[in-house]
Symmetry: C2
């Protein structure tokens, strides 16, 4: 095993800032959504993806990929969302194994309300306090990260 290629001081500083900052930012978003709308960030993400899908529905597997969640986690979370009446599940015509998750009208309304507050939080704690060019850099960085991860 060769000597590892440690990060230099600048890289270390920036990586650390990201690690700490992103944890805290998620925490802020989570608390905000939870106290004001009773939704966790991951539940919110599920509603968002469904709301953007054709007919407001997606197959479970597709939704899982889309929302960066495991199948199992999505199953559990969807059960909760279903019992809140925000999502409903139905069978899939073509494939009898398949299940569609569908955003209900109540789910759409809940998302509508939540997103109005959420965008203000995203602005207040990120978008509005940084240089727009830096936000674009963040976008480039994490697009590259996802591409790299998908490449395996």
């Amino acid at each position: 095993m060769s000597e590892p290629r440690w990060l230099d001081a600048t890289q270390q500083r920036d990586w650390r800032a990201y690690v700490d900052g992103s944890v805290r930012l998620t925490e802020v978003m989570d608390r905000d959504l939870k106290t004001r709308h009773g939704l966790s960030v991951s539940e919110y993400e599920i509603l968002v993806r469904l709301s953007e899908a054709p007919e407001r529905r997606l197959r479970m597997a597709e939704l899982a990929d889309n929302a960066s969640q495991s199948r199992s986690r999505l199953s559990h979370t969807c059960s909760r969302l279903e019992s809140k009446g925000l999502v409903s599940r139905g069978s899939c015509p073509g494939d009898k194994r398949g299940v569609y998750a569908h955003l209900t009208d109540a789910g759409f309304d809940a998302l509508d309300r939540a997103s109005r507050d959420h965008v203000e939080t995203v602005r207040a704690f990120l978008v509005d306090i940084i240089d727009p060019a830096d936000l674009e850099a963040v976008g480039r960085v994490f697009t590259a990260v996802m591409k790299r991860i998908d490449a395996g």
Copy 2:
């Protein structure tokens, strides 16, 4: 309630890339640390902070702040790390309420081994695949985010 100030297309794209990419990146880091060293990212972070503290020890509250974890979560996680022999807890001379978490020699060794692999992962999935200037932008962004959060 006035009309919310929605993100424009570019902001939306970049924010989304961050949300998705950071979740997946954390997942990669977590899986890597867990399969190769039996540590979660948050356990790893605790060991890192302790290793850098004077005498390799910190008060619980200080460690919690440092590692961006709640007191309660830190208590539980430290119990686990303690049972693995990586951390030990001792009382605090000046303040009888206080508790010091101390990195054991075994903990230091485990961290040493883990960090050698971890840095390669950080490089492979982030640092080495992006423009260095963009990494600096990420650093600036999340430094600003933390400052904003600390401001309340």
